[in-house]
Symmetry: C2
Subunit: 402 residues, 2 copies
């Protein structure tokens, strides 16, 4: 008898019909002889609606009270799913984060799981109950409720799978697996049957939006086998695990990220310490810098260009303008950019990847503004209007021959 953890996102439980559909998936898994623990997010727009209510009352409410508010969303969905499963005649019990033993630190709004006290979970599984757990939430040492931040329900599911050594953790979403590119945009995009944790991490970071990064990191750390699949179709999804058997495949996928702003700092005096000062200032404000490019100095000055998340753009301009080391005229922020990346563990041993990618972009008249590489990914920054065309072209270059 296997123990399977299943996670369903907000769109999978958005209304009564969807909840009934999830109840069918869960009970089918249970009927097949498995123990099942289910993690659910808040229904559809519930979280956004609650945030809007809070903003109307106090836009600067404490994070503790925001967490208190938002936890209600998952509470509603676990109860409703349990009711739908009762209707099908199966034994079921819903649990909130604190009841399921989720102990977190006290960083309200983006708490980290410290441990899961599995006593209650195990007891309910031993009673042969289907267990429905509220995702995204836990409790800190003061017995106050906390939330895990964006994508927290994925993390909740993986954490349970890790703590109880589950045989599999299935993440149900509105796509039926991980594709070589966004299937809504690229017509030849192919679903992968397997992908490694590291490749998945790069794809997640790069905006593929299939799985939350923290959950993949945790799955890798505790060696939890993940499956990404759709709650709307009953077809096998994509397995995420340590070693992929498809070693030959050069690249895994092409991803687009439009959540990027490019900051250019012009005519910086060619002193050694200046780049350090700039990035130290940003680090202190907790602004993550991604690609960095520095032009070769010509006339005793150099240009420094880097990318940040789009919504940090204004803050960066303000911080640097007020730094005393740059004038406002030296700082340019461009948000009309996109990052297109190819990811694949095979890339390391295939030097031709960059050439194939650049050729595809050149053939389509797409100008490359910046380039960044890691062992398993290659990213280019381009104009945002070219982004979808770039993804299709690059995808075509790598996958059409197969």
């Amino acid at each position: 008898m296997a123990l399977i953890v299943q996670k369903f996102g907000g769109s999978s439980v958005a209304d009564a019909a969807r909840v009934a559909n999830v109840a069918n998936i869960v009970t089918d898994t249970y009927k097949a002889g498995n123990s099942v623990i289910v993690v659910v997010s808040a229904q559809g727009d519930t979280t956004d609606d609650l945030i809007a209510k809070a903003k109307e009352i106090n836009p600067n409410a404490s994070k503790r009270e925001m967490d208190m508010l938002l936890c209600a969303g998952e509470q509603i969905s676990v109860a409703l799913l349990a009711m739908a499963i009762q209707k099908l005649g199966y034994p079921v019990v819903s649990l909130l984060g604190w009841q399921a033993g989720f102990k977190t630190n006290s960083t309200y709004g983006s708490a980290r799981i410290k441990k899961i006290d599995t006593e209650r979970l195990s007891a309910e599984v031993d009673k042969r109950n289907i267990v429905i757990v509220a995702g995204f939430q836990g409790v800190n040492k003061y017995q106050d409720v906390t939330t895990l931040g964006r994508g927290g329900s994925d993390t909740s599911a993986v954490a349970i799978a890790a703590a109880l050594k589950a045989d599999k953790c299935q993440i149900y979403t509105d796509v039926d697996g991980v594709y070589t590119a966004d299937p809504r945009k690229v017509k030849n995009a192919k679903k992968m049957s397997e992908i490694s944790y590291d490749e998945m991490l790069e794809l997640a970071t790069l905006g593929a939006q299939v799985l939350n990064n923290r959950s993949v990191e945790m799955a890798k750390k505790y060696n939890v086998e993940l499956e990404v699949l759709s709650s709307l179709t009953r077809v096998p999804g994509t397995i995420v695990k340590e070693v992929t058997t498809m070693e030959k495949m050069l690249i895994r996928g092409v991803a687009k990220d439009t959540d990027v702003a490019r900051i250019s700092i012009l005519k910086v005096p060619n002193n050694p310490g200046i780049a350090f000062k700039i990035f130290d200032l940003l680090a202190k404000k907790k602004i993550n810098v991604d690609i960095i490019l520095q032009s070769v100095g010509r006339d005793q000055t150099k240009d420094i260009t880097f990318t940040v998340a789009k919504d940090s753009g204004d803050a960066v301009v303000e911080i640097l303008s007020n730094s005393g080391i740059l004038t406002p005229e030296q700082i340019v922020c461009d948000t009309n950019v996109a990052k297109v990346s190819v990811v694949g563990a095979g890339m390391e041993t295939h030097p031709g990847t960059a050439a194939t990618m650049f050729e595809a972009l050149y053939d389509n008249n797409i100008n490359i503004q910046m380039i960044s590489t890691s062992e398993i990914k290659l990213s280019v920054l381009i104009d945002i209007v070219d982004a979808d065309r770039a993804v299709s072209a690059v995808h075509e270059a790598f996958f059409s021959a197969e």
Copy 2:
């Protein structure tokens, strides 16, 4: 420094403006140097909306899961009220039932409070925090959440006041006190400055709908001074306490209850055991019977008439029809009835009360179907179309002379 418990119902926190209004009342009380614990219900229609969601998914969901669902309503309102108080710049913390130490039995849907572990509540009060507690909810010995049933938030507030020996428990509602009759219907209705627990209990039972009965019983048991007042006007309300100083007043109020069905059982054989059998059947189904009237037997048969809550009417007919001791033709259910009552501790020593009431009804051509009395109340059952006219007439008879 006094400790004051304040309870606000769902209509008092129905929207952002109402929440802000409550925040003002609470912080004014705190500013005056008091410690304040606030109990809140779910916003406006939240509970009804959640019940509708549940019914759509499973009309026969377990009470445990219903409680899990409904508790989310108060969770939302405590967080929102805390945010509104933060906006005014006061220290505040919201607590759910389990965090506030509400230990209940396991009767989901109508749990009884067994005790309140006051450690957390006291600690927050000692820190000079305004404490916002989710009403209506607690936790049982299995660490599952429970709800206290209808009017549960009143009970939560009184229980906290009793456990912490608060100086006062203020119940804020949409009326500004307890009146001698419904002020929307009876134009000379007068607000009372004081009323005794027993009188309040009779008025609550009789449909005055100002305060929940259980909360008044608990207040009487632990001698908690209650005040009923409005969250929309800043005027003193009605104090409910053990001994009222206004001994001279004959009756306290006139109340109407239209939640009544009258069941008549015709031509019952005149055997001793038959009434017992009927009421034993109903008791086993947990149906409360109120007024009972038995006609004197004429032709070897008698008629038995009694009243039950309106929504129990159909069930009673079904139970008795299937009892094997009566035929369906013998059972008549009439839901077009109302109970009008006068309540007052002075009644015991003033034999004229019944005469005054009956005369007022007679003068207005209102037919009395049944009569019921206790030490401090006198109720008549009449046709529902006469109810408002009856209340006005009876109120006029007792209060106009003053």
